[in-house]
């Protein structure tokens, strides 16, 4: 590069973006048509983000973008410039399962496991918005994610259980003024 440009698009058409993945800052040069899913899987090797329908209908690739569940197959990578992306890889702390993962383990809320990372991210977002969701709310939210094993009953139970686990952990996290 010989000239400095205020535009983010370089002469070769590539775009430089800065964003965070599971809290880690990243800077990337990407083609304008790169989608977030491919960036995560192919460049970072984050295969925990699953590729399935690749047209935004199955939810397997669900990540959180600034907290909002999004089908990463249908999000242009340039659009996450300046944003925070959360994936299933950020759910564990020092190898310990997070509360949502713990709940899915306890309730057997997974079979083949392919939809599971997406379900876990969706549940994470759901419980931030609705800490104690009723069944109707859970059904409505998870309707965006397909489980082809059709194990929805246990997934719904897992969401309820995750809500319990998170609420139970809350007083410890916030100190004595839990009530």
């Amino acid at each position: 590069m010989t000239t400095e440009s205020t535009d983010k698009a370089a002469a070769d058409g590539r775009i430089t973006i800065g964003f965070a993945v599971d809290g880690r800052p990243r800077t990337e040069r990407i083609a304008p048509n790169t989608v977030l899913l491919d960036l995560l899987r192919d460049r970072y090797g984050m295969t925990g983000v699953k590729a399935s329908c690749e047209r935004g209908v199955c939810g397997a690739c669900t990540t959180l973008i600034d907290g909002t569940p999004s089908a990463s197959c249908s999000v242009f990578a340039f659009s996450v410039d300046g944003r925070a992306v959360e994936t299933v890889a950020g759910q564990t702390t020092d190898g310990e399962l997070g509360p949502v993962q713990q709940a899915f383990a306890e309730c057997g809320g997974f079979q083949c496991g392919y939809c599971t990372p997406g379900m876990i991210m969706l549940t994470t977002a759901l419980l931030r918005e609705h800490p104690d969701p009723d069944e109707e709310t859970i059904r409505s939210w998870i309707s965006s994610n397909v489980c082809r094993c059709t194990g929805y009953r246990m997934i719904i139970e897992s969401v309820h259980r995750a809500a319990e686990l998170i609420r139970a952990a809350e007083p410890a996290r916030t100190g004595e003024d839990a009530r």
């Binding site: 984050m46 295969t47 699953k50 759910q91 399962l97 306890e106 997974f110 496991g113 392919y114």
Partner: protein
Amino acid sequence: MTATSRIGTNDRRTDAVLKLTGAAQYTADIRLPGMLHAKVLRSPHAHARLVSIDAAKAQGRVVSVLAGHARGVDGFLM
């Protein structure tokens, strides 16, 4: 109940951690050195006779175009 009985107890599945962390590797997650990707191109017409295949546009952009007749499979080209 004996100490070895599983009845009435919950066991964590052995595949739980792999699948819940996204560490489980599925076919689409595997990358091997020199790996190629194949795509099957089917006729858009049901029950049509395949007369010829023109792969000229693909030359130089793919490693190989394999048509049924090239592999000695009967019934693809008449």
